[in-house]
């Protein structure tokens, strides 16, 4: 049903590091879940891979949560966003034009 979200912490195929897979619509109502999921992963000293290929909608607030998590990664660690929709990618490019440590990967499992 639209509006439901699934978050799975699991490796993203083809990549080392920590994985988080998002499925469904992400808006104001799912923001606490997204924040909690990222908080749980924060202490791991590893790259963070987020698979957006199953995402049907992401609002600006959810992107703010993701980019905030990127900014608080340990030194030298990066966040990889896998398969964002063109609209999500455009919103990130527009609202966070110079965010360091963020990599966009257009195909899941494309490797790093």
């Amino acid at each position: 049903m639209p509006g439901d979200q699934v978050l799975v912490a699991a490796a993203v195929p083809g990549n080392t590091g920590i994985g988080l897979t998002l499925v469904g619509d992400f808006d104001l109502t799912s923001r606490p879940c997204l924040e909690a999921a990222l908080e749980n992963l924060r202490d791991a000293d590893a790259d963070l891979h987020v698979d957006l290929s199953g995402v049907t909608f992401v609002d600006v607030g959810s992107l703010a949560v993701l980019t905030a998590a990127c900014r608080t990664l340990p030194d030298g660690r990066r966040m990889f966003l896998h398969s964002p929709s063109p609209q999500v990618r455009r919103a990130i490019d527009f609202l966070w034009p110079s965010l360091g440590g963020l990599e966009i990967v257009m195909a899941v499992g494309g490797g790093t």
Partner: protein, 307 residues
Amino acid sequence: MTGRCDHPALFYRGWADYLAGTVPFIRDGLAADQRVAVAVPGPNLAVLRSALGGDAGRVHMLDMNEVGRNPGRIIPGVLRAFADEGTDTGRVRIVGEPIWPGRTDVEYPACVQHEALINRAFEGRDVTILCPYHAAELAPEVLADAEATHPVLVDREGVRVSDAFAPEEMVDRYNRPLPPPPGDCATLRFDVDGLAAVRRFVSGHAVAAGLSEWRAGDLAMAVNELATNSVVHGGGAGTVRTWAETGHVVCETADPGWITDPLVGRQPVPPDGVGGRGLLLVNELADLVRMHSAATGTTVRVYVRRG
């Protein structure tokens, strides 16, 4: 900041005036190694490009009809985008023509608010923004408004300080109740649990009215941000309405909140900043945004072109 923003209006009555008022301004900037941008309607851009000859390549040239079709986008997407780009600290010069005879009555109030807000948005920065007005074709009321939104006025007679300069009053004066929506428009009440329904409502009606899936998705994304603002800042709930007009699909949200900072959605937000990005994205996605916000509530209307 210790810089100074200059924001003169240039009243021109023909191409000779236009070029006499803009070309030396551009060339003086280039001669002083300053960064120069021109954002004017397409036909004027072509005339300027031709007059500048080889110098046109050193000027950032934009068609205001494209980049500034939505007046709410001009400060963040055109002026700040250019002024913030440079790493040097020298003065930046911009020729910006946001009001031309083809502007519609629906667009015009947003244009005046944009002109008035430039003064506050660039306060303390070394930027000169020269705004040409086609004095021979624009209505006298439009030129009177320009005298109130620009501290300095330039015409054939020379340069003078505007006695009518009152930008804050102009922001308020054009913060007007919007014309009522059509009585038979589609309407949906929402609260925090209704955001997904708002998106389906908007995209469904937008596609039915002829928008592409891509633009319908843009409109749904924009209205989702407005509805989220209603939930978070506007009393927790609101109403979304949508209808089709000649040329546009229109969507509005209404809630009891009051947006007291007119620059919200017109300023880039730093990476660690909180808030303000939703309206910024709305201005980026829409072909026109009109807003009325007062103690009685806030209505934001988003227009997306059909076809």
